[in-house]
Assembly symmetry: C2
Homo-oligomer: 362 residues x 2
């Protein structure tokens, strides 16, 4: 390796090593061993299509041609089942925009995530990557067709993500980028670490009225013979959308700070259908305190309060958990990664116990 | 939801449910509980850049503009550390082209993967997604710039993947697509399931002579105060490349069917440097038996045999494990997912015991 590359490599190496140490320093937790009955990963859904653009070059990967069969619309799922005799309902934890299943894993500042916490408390946990995200793959056909020239640049999908600056304000780390709320629960010192888990979002290539993730969530609940579906933000209302594909085996729906509380294709049957399923909607704090996003969060919150009311009026069992009302202050949009994330988790587990499993939680 | 979407949703739901059952049927293994001292995930490397194209629309995500800071070159890592008193060296397991960390998880036909098997045998395991892949994110800037019109279509990265047809022959499931070798170890009945874990590969956006994954692997070994690095296929020689960034704390290098045994930027110091590290190169069976790929695999195998010889001539400790010579026949390119994958793993663990840890394995 030439000297310039070598010294560049060393410099990057030093930076990389330092960055891990900064996080590892917060990881010295003494925990009981985690005892699992089973773990693994599998896919839900997916089907084979023929594409003429397996790669971005006309000859394809080995020069013999660029056509072939690929799989699309599949959803990667990783799971852990705790050992022990408790018979808790499985919980499926789905991430939101521009993020991945990492959302529910170790927090940016090195603390336990909800995935492991729910398992330690006796609940089987299933963590997907949304269709067209991360380990669920995505269909690159159109991008490749544009590259080889068979489609115009205007055909490209709108691949979006959020910048560090936008995340700070949209997720309510503080009133403006770089300034945190006094009681802010998000570990803002690890905001850069959080930035590493942000990925491009290709949901724009999926149908907005028949997102394959909804169907896959429904199939997963049926496969598990009953599950609580949990969504967040972009996917906050996906549990309800999945229930509108089929309510079979959906034992509960949890919507964490959903960006909507309305179906993509509303019908009069929606409310009666959803009223059969226990529903929990969760919002954090400071909903109106970020000037650039008060007109985003406040209307959504109001719409979700109305949704909860409508479900209850229709004979259902819906609960709005606005964390400040429960005595938890300062929660951000990333409430599963906030410093008090395990306290928030306890509230959710208590709701599952009571509204889904019919138990009082000790 | 209108009737057409609803019936389409149900049909897709039935297909999705059936596909999970087909896999779950093979999962009824009775195993001892898996007892972990620790688990989690974190990132290695990554740095912040400014992009003018956070999304593919000029206004950006919320209409205020399309510029902002994003993180690139980070590497997602998921780990598990077994409980118990054994002090085995951590093993980092890196996937290849067009795949993800899923490579080392549950096999396509529902059996235990190497990740869990190594942990059950007492080794801490760290499974990354390569830089620019899956949960490690990728920089979509150029794609978005082409979409908004500030760059020509020719700027697009060459995003590649492999088709089902190509995989069958390249990975030596059989001599031609759809026909398996009589002793084929890859679970070909689950070939479609394998297709679900195939993802677009954006390595073309990374430097071919200074791939950030190499630096990140080196940083990870240093963070772990010593690790064995394992690569596969596209990343098969990445452990060696990482050692050429820095050999510090790289306790061993395992190259599984690497697509090259040469450094991207060869220098006379390479051999002396690499000769300090125990090296294992592993190849499966039928290397010359797929007509369309005999001129791919046989030269690579020969080059790697030569590499092993050169390392040993330089005073190193390199081993070529050609599985048929060890009495294991029929192994494909995906030897960690083959039906005899745990027997292959035992051979690798025995090598680590002897050549890295200086122990005879019972």
């Amino acid at each position: 390796m030439d000297e310039t590359s070598k010294s560049k490599g060393f410099k990057t190496l030093l930076l990389a090593t330092v960055s891990i140490f900064a996080i590892a320093g917060g990881q010295a937790q003494e925990e009981e061993p985690l005892v699992l009955k089973a773990q693994g990963s599998f896919f839900v859904g997916g089907h084979t299509i023929h594409t003429d653009a397996v790669t971005g070059t006309p000859g394809g990967l080995v020069g013999t041609g660029n056509g072939g069969s690929i799989t699309v619309d599949q959803m990667y799922v990783q799971y852990q089942v705790p050992a022990g005799t408790s018979q808790h309902v499985p919980v499926v934890m789905l991430h939101g925009c521009c993020l991945t299943g990492k959302t529910y894993e170790t927090t940016p500042d090195g603390r336990m995530g909800w995935g492991e916490y729910f398992v330690r408390n006796g609940w089987p946990v299933y963590i997907p990557d949304q269709v067209s995200r991360a380990r669920s793959s995505f269909d690159a056909t159109t991008i490749n067709e544009v590259r080889v020239g068979t489609r115009p640049a205007s055909s490209l999908p709108n691949i979006f993500t959020f910048s560090h600056e936008l995340a700070w304000e949209a997720f309510r780390f503080g009133p403006t980028f770089g300034t945190a709320f006094g009681d802010e629960q998000f570990p803002v010192k690890a905001a850069d670490e959080f930035g590493k888990q942000v990925v491009p979002d290709l949901n724009a290539i999926l149908s907005p009225t028949a997102n394959p993730t909804w169907t896959n969530l429904s199939a997963l609940a049926i496969h598990l013979k009953g599950a609580v579906l949990m969504g967040h933000s972009e996917s906050g209302f996906f549990p309800e959308q999945a229930a509108l594909v089929s309510a079979t085996d959906i034992r509960g729906a949890i919507s964490l700070e959903p960006i909507t509380c309305s179906s993509a294709t509303p019908t009069p049957q929606d409310l009666p259908s959803l009223a059969k399923i226990p529903i929990l909607v969760v919002f954090g704090d400071h909903l109106g305190d970020v000037p650039s996003f008060r007109d985003f969060w406040l209307p959504i919150f109001a719409a979700c309060q109305q949704f909860v009311q409508q479900i209850n009026n229709a004979g259902g069992d819906a609960t709005m958990l606005h964390l400040p009302d429960a005595g938890l202050f300062g929660n951000s949009h990333m409430l599963m990664q906030d410093k008090n994330n395990l306290q928030v988790a306890d509230l959710i587990l208590a709701w599952i116990d009571k509204h889904v499993e019919g138990e009082a939680r000790d």
